[in-house]
């Protein structure tokens, strides 16, 4: 039962984390002086804590379920790698957001143009790995 509750908390954290990432990526493409500071606050107090909770609950599930040892296959190691890349992508777009707010530069950010499709591709691969455990 505890495992199921932690799994639910993990999924909830993932939903909040990914929603927050999508918001940052969208607003970097269409920034405005009114929205970026509030998006930065949202990222600081909601999205980043959700990412940390996703890690914490995920590590807990891995330990409780024995996935880190012999129980976990190649899919689990690959999933962790993809989660790290996704977290790095979040760090990158958050850094760009903070830079824009600091420099009061409200032009569309070309460097994060591909952040949304790349993020979606990574999330799709993670969901496939977790549900099928095929590899």
């Amino acid at each position: 039962m505890l495992y199921e509750l932690i799994k639910a908390a993990h999924i909830l954290s993932v939903i909040v984390f990914l929603s927050g990432m999508a918001i940052v990526a969208m607003f970097l493409r269409y920034p405005s002086a009114n929205t970026l500071p509030s998006i930065q606050n949202f990222d600081r107090y909601v999205t980043t804590p959700a990412m940390l909770l996703t890690w914490a609950f995920g590590i807990l599930l891995g330990v409780m379920g024995g996935w880190f040892g012999a129980g976990g296959g190649f899919w689990f190691a690959f999933k962790i790698l993809l989660v790290l890349v996704l977290s790095g992508l979040h760090g990158m777009i958050t850094g760009r957001l903070r830079r824009k707010v600091r420099e009061e530069n409200f032009n569309a950010d070309s460097a994060t143009r591909t952040a949304l499709p790349i993020g979606l591709g990574i999330v799709g691969a993670i969901v496939m790995l977790v549900t099928t455990k095929a590899i």
Partner: protein, 99 residues
């Protein structure tokens, strides 16, 4: 808390967990045969290391440090006590930038 302070504090926290793991938990496991020490501190340090890598990427994208600085911080993060040296380096860098 500013982005600069967050990066410095993350460097210290990562360095503290690494030193605790290497200097206390590993000897407890090897010498005193207490494996629980590494079982507890290992995941804590792992999570802290991930957070530090994340905050280094963010700081690089934010323009607080350049690519060479990010590399230096990541190398220092896997060397015991390297994080403390990097924290002092960051402090100097940010103080020079402020002047």
């Amino acid at each position: 808390m500013t982005s600069e302070q967050e990066l410095r504090y993350a460097a210290i926290a990562e360095a503290v967990t690494l030193v605790t793991l290497v200097c206390i938990a590993v000897p407890l496991k090897r010498i005193a045969d207490i494996p629980a020490a590494t079982s507890i501190l290992g995941p804590i340090h792992g999570a802290m290391f991930l957070f530090f890598v994340w905050i280094v990427i963010r700081s690089w994208a934010e323009g607080l440090i350049n690519g060479i600085g990010a590399g230096r911080l990541l190398i220092g993060a896997v060397i015991p006590f390297g994080g403390f040296i990097n924290e002092r380096w960051l402090n100097t860098q940010f103080a020079q930038g402020a002047n």
